[in-house]
Symmetry: C2
Amino acid sequence: MTCVGTTKSSSESTGNVAADQLRLFIERVERLEEEKRGIADDIKDVYGEAKSTGYDTKVMKEIVKRRRMEGHALREFEGLLETYQCALGME
Amino acid sequence: MTCVGTTKSSSESTGNVAADQLRLFIERVERLEEEKRGIADDIKDVYGEAKSTGYDTKVMKEIVKRRRMEGHALREFEGLLETYQCALGME
């Protein structure tokens, strides 16, 4: 790949403001993505701990999802869930 | 829904250890999920800032993805990408 009008590092050129700016944006995203992965790992750890205590994590995830819903949204969700299950002969 | 063998709050019963324990696990997950959403918002903000500076965020996301790959994985990805594009007459 030939990089026209860019340099590999900022030290190679003092005029390459755009590349440095782009690099800063990318590095900010990368740091935040790293943090987000760390938290995702922490969540996995909590579920792992709950599982080893005897809880079903699939059900826990469903609970977390339902607790995030507003009252009316939850009632609508539960109503439609029942309707669809009936329609598909699932109960 | 009838809750057999459980109480709605820990104050209603002192013997309901399991429900309290479950609640603690759920609340820990919820706090972490909240944190994760905060970081996801921060990432969106960085992309928004980059976009308003003139950068294409779709390309930036591709760059972030490729920078996370190990050297050999990146080469394999780029090679296969070209192969598939050729196979599909995309170049």
